[in-house]
């Protein structure tokens, strides 16, 4: 029995299809049970939260008043900027990002183990969830889907050892990779040697690689004791409940230009001609392109 377990450990290292499949089947079967069990937990959390709220209601009110005053100023600024952006977009004929569909679900299962940072959600391929899709909660990105069954799927959190997400540090637009290492704060990797970034900067997804939509908020930069720049995520890992799976489709339907048909004649007669005034032989291709 011990040798069998050890053999499985070695076999599982290879990440075979059978292992993945078995994991998914077990997860799918356990999901309804876990969902049942997580209901009272959610109810208990609501009780705890509401008592918390009663206890701090005056402080909270004071804080919210202040915040409201501050936000009104921001609203003014945002409205001005919005008008400005709309005007610029109209001028530049910008393609606005296609709206992203989503599926809402609940977290029904914790990772359970100390060496993995994954969650089980009660939405699966029957609801249109696919591997690779981004998962957010009301505060920001929490991870992405790594496996789906018909009724349940597994979320790999940003903090997991295997999580790598391409990000952009705002406002300097420095690109980096956000790498989890099972600690609470994922690490920024592949930063340029001299990067004009500082603690407190906002980190959002860059959309590089086409898997995750660009611009999803992730967190703010913090400096860790070990000298690494780490990210404090906006979402609170221990309070995750409702989540949203984004069905982002990378815009692939960009019209491919018919390169050989255009190149051939242009290459032979490229004598100071502007590209718009195309030669007769290239006309059909050019017409097709416009």
């Amino acid at each position: 029995m011990v040798t069998l377990a050890a053999a499985l450990l070695l076999l599982g290292r290879a990440e075979t299809y059978v292992v993945d499949r078995a994991r998914q089947v077990v997860t799918d079967l356990a999901a309804p049970l876990l969902e049942l069990a997580s209901r009272p937990v959610s109810a208990a959390r609501r009780v705890v939260e509401s008592t918390d709220q009663y206890a701090y209601v005056f402080d909270e009110n004071e804080r919210l008043r202040e915040e409201n005053a501050r936000l009104l100023a921001w609203k003014e600024a945002a409205l001005k900027l919005e008008a400005k952006v709309a005007r610029f977009e109209a001028l530049l004929n910008v393609q606005v990002d296609p709206s992203i569909g989503y599926v809402t679900g609940r977290v029904v299962g914790d990772s359970g183990g100390p060496f993995v940072e994954t969650l089980i959600a009660n939405v699966g391929s029957n609801q249109g969830v696919e591997s690779g899709q981004a998962v957010i909660d009301s505060d920001g990105l929490i991870g992405r889907i790594v496996a789906t069954g018909p009724e349940a799927s597994r979320i790999l959190l940003l903090t997991d050892l295997n999580s790598r997400v391409p990000v952009v540090v705002e406002p300097s637009q420095i690109r980096a990779v956000l790498a989890g290492d099972n600690s609470f704060w994922p690490r920024l990797e592949f930063l340029p040697a001299i990067a004009p970034i500082s603690v407190g900067d906002r980190v959002v997804t860059s959309g590089d690689g086409g898997l995750l939509p660009p611009g999803l908020p992730i967190g703010t930069l913090v400096e860790a004791d070990d000298g690494f720049l780490r990210v404090q995520t906006f979402s609170d890992r221990s309070r995750l409940d409702m989540i949203r799976v984004l069905q982002y489709e990378f815009p692939r339907e960009i019209d491919a230009q018919d390169a050989p048909a255009v190149l051939q004649p242009v290459a032979s007669e490229v004598q100071g001609e502007t590209p718009s005034a195309s030669t007769p032989s290239a006309a059909p291709a050019a017409e097709g392109g416009t």
């Binding site: 029995m1 377990a5 876990l34 914790d110 990772s111 060496f115 993995v116 221990s238």
Partner: protein, 176 residues
């Protein structure tokens, strides 16, 4: 004492089956309990290893009704559900089970605090083994923080579960 009939009565047989099935079922439910997101209420991140409590309790009290393949199955399902290294906890639980069964004479019939101390030692060994194996598996030294928190929580919750199992065992013995 009267002669036992060669084929036991149906009630007796049901009791035997219950004695074989229910401890495993209890252990299995404990394992599932690790995945219930209690962290949402308390803000504690790592779920206690409830499965280990079951393995330890039955290894000390009645290893005959909780065979090694039951331990293996619980560990394996734990691995499958947690999406961690497959076989990691199955192996660790089996080793703990083997060690505890070999040392159970030390703890049988002694005080509860000794029983609890035994569990503390077992979970330290389990946590250390799990950490070493996972570090080898992932090829890097993992931070030991989460596993320490997990084992501390598990040891703290041990008396509660031990009481529950004791109730179960007594019910079963009365029936069987």
């Amino acid at each position: 004492m009267s002669f036992e009939p060669i084929s036991p009565s149906s009630a007796g047989r049901a009791g035997k089956i219950a004695l074989l099935v229910l401890p495993f079922l209890a252990g299995f439910l404990c394992m599932l309990l690790s995945f219930v997101p209690f962290s949402r209420i308390f803000g504690v991140e790592v779920a206690p290893a409830f499965g280990l409590i079951a393995v330890y309790y039955w290894a000390v009290q009645r290893p005959d009704v909780f065979p090694p393949y039951g331990v293996f199955a619980i560990g394996l399902f734990y691995d499958l559900l947690s999406a961690g290294p497959l076989g990691l906890w199955a192996l660790v639980y089996l080793i703990i089970y083997g060690v505890v069964v070999s040392q159970r004479q030390l703890m049988i019939g002694r005080t509860f605090s000794l029983f609890w101390l035994g569990f503390l030692v077992s979970s330290v060994i389990a946590g250390f083994l799990g950490w070493v194996l996972a570090s080898l598996y992932f090829g890097q030294v993992l931070s030991p923080g989460p596993v320490l928190v997990q084992m501390a929580a598990t040891v703290a919750l041990f008396p509660l579960f031990a009481k529950l199992f004791e109730q179960l065992l007594q019910r079963l013995l009365v029936q069987g």
